[in-house]
Subunit: 239 residues, 2 copies
């Protein structure tokens, strides 16, 4: 016992990490409305740490895409635009397509994926819409994790984080409650069956639909914020 290589590191977190984690959680959980400004002194006082630490934490979140930095003005919780959604979709396609293709071709173990799918299946019909979305994302995360590429995982985690910025605006679509499970089932089956081509095709269709929904939701919330009627882009999306 204890003669092996150092694998089981206990994670001590520095203060800047702790602050970063706390603020990240706030943003990801939607507790901070898009557009909110995060003031260094305010956060420093609130968490009882020095301003420099907060600064480091926030700039870390900026690089993760969870905050926008306006020089000499401050740090703000981003409001996803339709361009952002399209951009994130591009990156997501790249990452997840590669992941799915590799899994299908090389047949890595899919335990984590099956576990994630089980959690999705077990969500009660009356559970909040948000749970469904998180379980959905959980599957995609498990898929990417299964590849075993730290950097692929990191990029994916970061982009999913950004995606979650727009998730609060995503209204429930009751008909999805059923289709979501079925869609993921066939996708996972295709991956497990080694059909790389079919799996990526299913994935890309799934992602495209998700991006469309999110783009629409983002457009709506933008209109709400600016107190205008629906924009042309929304009308296009609806037609």
């Amino acid at each position: 016992m204890f003669n092996d290589a150092p694998v089981a590191q206990l994670h001590r977190v520095s203060t800047v990490e702790a602050v970063a984690n706390a603020v990240r959680a706030l943003i990801l959980d939607g507790d901070l409305a898009p557009g909110t400004q995060l003031r260094e002194v305010e956060l420093a006082r609130h968490y009882g740490v020095a301003r420099h630490g907060v600064r480091l934490s926030l700039h870390k979140l900026v690089q993760e895409g969870l905050l926008r930095h306006h020089a000499n003005r401050g740090l703000f919780v981003p409001q996803l635009t339709e361009e952002d959604v399209a951009d994130l979709h591009t990156l997501r396609c790249a990452v997840e397509s590669e992941a799915v293709a590799r899994l299908a071709r090389q047949g890595q173990p899919l335990d984590g994926v099956h576990r994630a799918f089980a959690t999705l299946e077990q969500i009660a019909p009356e559970a909040p819409w948000r749970d469904l979305i998180m379980a959905d994302l959980g599957i995609h995360r498990a898929v990417v994790d299964a590849v075993g590429s730290p950097r692929l995982t990191r990029v994916h985690a970061s982009l999913i984080g950004e995606l979650r910025l727009g998730l609060a605006a995503l209204a429930e679509k009751s008909e999805k409650r059923r289709t979501i499970v079925a869609e993921h089932r066939v996708l996972i089956d295709a991956v497990a069956g080694g059909c790389a081509k079919q799996a990526t095709a299913l994935l890309r269709a799934h992602l495209a639909q998700a991006a469309l929904d999110l783009a629409q939701a983002v457009a709506v919330s933008k209109d709400v914020l600016t107190h205008q009627g629906p924009t042309a882009s929304l009308l296009v999306a609806e037609s």
Copy 2:
């Protein structure tokens, strides 16, 4: 004139950006050997700035993958391992495959790509090996840029930066001088011709070969550092 949206911002750089740029350049140009420790006080004195600024800059570079952070020990220029190379290859496949497929299918303008290819073509036979590699990378960057996705571009830039960490170890292979140009020509032709399938196939083969070369180079340089003979992994790569 000047009535359009604010696109042409003049870039004033803050001190932390300036320091980050300076150090980044040092690392990317190979002026800092892998394993070198970067001391905050030393850099602060050298650039005549406060330690806090240096701290912020260095942590930025950590998130870019250009430095490794050991808690309470310091920041070090990474030594790429074979796992790193494989990992970077995975991510690179994801990003560039997506880029190539999109370009081939959607037919974005390829001006930048053609310019980058022209630079490669015009490299004199006696020019340093390094120029060839940089021109090679320049084409790949241009390809990704042509997609017009800021995040895809950002991820790609970051991963190429990491790749460059191992480039110093890459020995010249004289026979590549000719094949490199031809390889990229057929790839670009396939993209321009809209053959997504052929283009991605060519790309992946090209990238796989590059990863193999780099993995081998990295293994050799590791052996040099540890003063050992060639490892099994190298022998495998040579066979």
